[in-house]
């Protein structure tokens, strides 16, 4: 197993109180597998991604308990120096949502794609240039030889996302965390980046954690899906099971709430209310207040129920 996260808790210590951003999540990613972390804003999916890299908000963010094992090595026990030298950008790389803000406007694209290669001692001098061209070719950036000296603003949004992807895969990481990699892109460009991520995974066999709110993008890229709600994972399953037989009421509600192409429903099934605050969240099931199947027991934390074939969901309804 490539990545195994066990009972991870990451809290933000704010002046208003302790915000339980990631509250006891367990997940795993196999080699050459894409796991989708799906949820709404504030559900903790981005914080989970950042916690895996131990990139926490300064002062406020703290990993309280749990482990993050990459190839069997627990990242929570490493020093900051070890994280910088051996993990970040080397074994685990990350792609952020907005390719404009994750590129530095004052450095050329060649410099930026070359920086991680230089830092991790993968290529230097004359080899560096050809390595940079090679990785830009792998992300299908047109005529990379001519464009090494160009700056980010000279590229389109889709091309910038290709460049960011090149920076991420240059050091042949084991795991790629992609946080909403296509959200800022138009739909005809999005489809190109989705195809690119699939191709890179096939070529390099790397594991991907895809963080997204878009159930369409998740369906097109993921092998397995973990649905997050209010800092917790409420359901995990192979991709087909999530869409064909969702077990958790939240997953069911989410799938019913999205308009679908070529569907005939005149009305969407809205989810009433809104997610709870993660400062002092409810003791029991966090979805209970909005759940149509709520019962007395929902005031206690629901158990994660194993439904077989890698499908599990945290709901009292399933525990009977």
């Amino acid at each position: 197993m490539l990545l195994q996260v066990d009972q991870l808790r990451m809290y933000l210590h704010l002046r208003r109180g302790v915000l339980r951003a990631v509250d006891g999540i367990s997940l795993h990613v196999n080699e050459a597998e894409t796991l989708g972390l799906v949820g709404e804003s504030g559900s903790g999916k981005t914080m989970t991604g950042l916690a895996m890299l131990r990139l926490l908000p300064r002062d406020a963010g703290r990993i309280e308990s749990g482990s993050i094992a990459l190839d069997g090595r627990d990242l929570t026990t490493l020093t900051e120096t070890e994280m910088v030298r051996e993990i970040r950008g080397r074994r685990i790389a990350m792609i952020m949502q907005d390719p404009m803000t994750s590129l530095n406007p004052v450095f050329s694209v060649g410099d930026q794609v070359g920086a991680p290669l230089r830092y991790h001692d993968i290529a230097r001098g004359a080899v560096l240039r050809s390595s940079v061209i090679d990785v830009l070719r792998r992300v299908r950036l047109p005529s990379p030889e001519q464009r090494l000296g160009d700056y980010p603003h000279q590229f389109s949004g889709g091309q910038r996302q290709r460049i960011v992807t090149a920076m991420a895969i240059g050091c042949t990481p084991r795991l790629l965390i992609a946080d909403e990699p296509t959200t800022a892109l138009d739909v005809t460009i999005q489809v190109q980046i989705i195809a690119l991520l699939k191709r890179i995974q096939q070529d390099a066999g790397l594991g991907i954690v895809l963080i997204t709110h878009d159930l369409g993008v998740a369906a097109s890229l993921c092998h397995r899906i973990a649905v997050m709600y209010a800092g917790q994972i409420v359901e995990t399953a192979p991709v087909r099971a999530i869409y064909r037989s969702p077990a958790h009421p939240y997953t069911q509600a989410l799938l019913a709430a999205i308009p679908r192409l070529h569907a005939t429903a005149k009305r969407l099934t809205a989810i009433p209310g809104q997610p709870p605050s993660l400062i002092d969240p409810p003791a029991g099931c966090r979805f209970a207040a909005r759940c149509p199947h709520r019962m007395a027991r929902c005031t206690e934390p629901p158990p994660m129920v194993d439904l077989g074939d890698g499908h599990s969901a945290a709901c009292w309804k399933l525990a009977a």
Partner: protein, 315 residues
């Protein structure tokens, strides 16, 4: 009700002329919902701004109930400004953080009439009730509400002066999936109840199909295809509409996405391609496409598509 007739908008910049909108025509029937669909930079927001009198067309005419909005006399213009209201994408940016919700909703009313205190408060409570918020919300500030609630406040503000046409610019794209459905249902209920006409701008095609009765697909400032939503989505005739629909990732793991339908990237409106502006990306492009701008071919009474391929296909 609203007729946009061969409207063009050019912006002069130091780098040249940006051809944001290039001879766009469509009509929105009373109580109907027309969606402007297209990718970023295609000109759909510029069209909405011209309808809202925030921009002046370089050429062409926009008519409201048959009257040219550019040449309206003062009283007619005042009435137009009341009858046409807008809801914008970002409910964090569109509400003044320093005003109480009641004041925010009162502003468009006070711009047009001078009701007494009681009548005004009554109207504010009324529109808050329509959007599903308690009357007490009027005393609070925008920051005390969630994103979905703020969008309800923005809708209440638009409703306050009793408009007939609402321009909805990406009204739910800043909201979470579970909140989106609430707001979309609300907008549909309000439309049915008050007989409103909607001009909606959206990039989410599934949403457009669900929400609108007619659609105009815009590419680089021109209408590629327009018609009733049903036929356009069931049988898209313009290669760009086909590419857009093929590129939408569906919430279905067995759906295969087509990367081939639109190669390359969107050109710049500063220097649009010759002929059909979609031709460099079009899998069906042939000789005339790079030379002549395709005229809109009428496929049915109200379904048009601007593509040279259709010349042969039509009788």
């Amino acid at each position: 009700m609203l007729e946009v007739d061969a409207v063009t908008k050019h912006y002069r910049t130091r780098r040249g002329t940006v051809r944001a909108v290039e001879g766009v025509s469509f009509t929105v029937p009373k109580r109907g919902t027309l969606a402007l669909v297209g990718e970023s930079g295609c000109g759909k927001t510029t069209i909405a701004k011209m309808v809202l009198l925030l921009e002046i067309p370089t050429a062409g005419v926009i008519r409201f109930e048959g009257q040219d909005i550019a040449t309206m006399a003062r009283p007619a213009l005042r009435s137009y400004r009341r009858r046409v209201q807008a809801v914008f994408q970002d409910p964090y940016a569109s509400l003044n953080p320093r005003l109480r919700v009641g004041r925010i909703i009162a502003e468009p009313i006070l711009a047009h009439e001078r009701p007494g205190r009681t009548a005004l408060d009554k109207r504010i409570a009324e529109v808050l009730d329509i959007v599903g918020l308690p009357a007490a919300a009027a005393r609070l500030y925008p920051h005390e509400f969630s994103g979905g609630q703020r969008q309800r406040i923005a809708i209440a503000r638009a409703l306050a002066p009793r408009p007939e046409l609402m321009v909805l610019d990406e009204p739910v794209s800043a909201l979470d999936v579970s909140i989106r459905a609430q707001v979309l249902n609300l907008l549909q209920d309000i439309q049915a109840e008050y007989g409103l006409t909607y001009l909606i701008i959206a990039h989410d095609l599934a949403l457009v199909q669900h929400f609108s009765s007619a659609v105009a697909v815009i590419y680089l400032g021109r209408v590629a295809e327009a018609g009733p939503t049903g036929p356009v989505f069931a049988d898209p005739r313009h290669p760009y509409t086909q590419a857009l629909l093929a590129a939408v990732p569906l919430p279905d793991p067995d759906h295969v996405l087509s990367e081939a339908a639109a190669a390359g990237e969107i050109a710049s409106a500063l220097n649009p391609p010759s002929g059909c502006s979609f031709h460099p990306r079009c899998p069906h492009a042939f000789a005339p496409c790079s030379v002549d701008v395709p005229p809109p071919y009428r496929l049915a009474a109200d379904h048009v598509a601007a593509c040279h391929l259709l010349k042969e296909a039509l009788p």
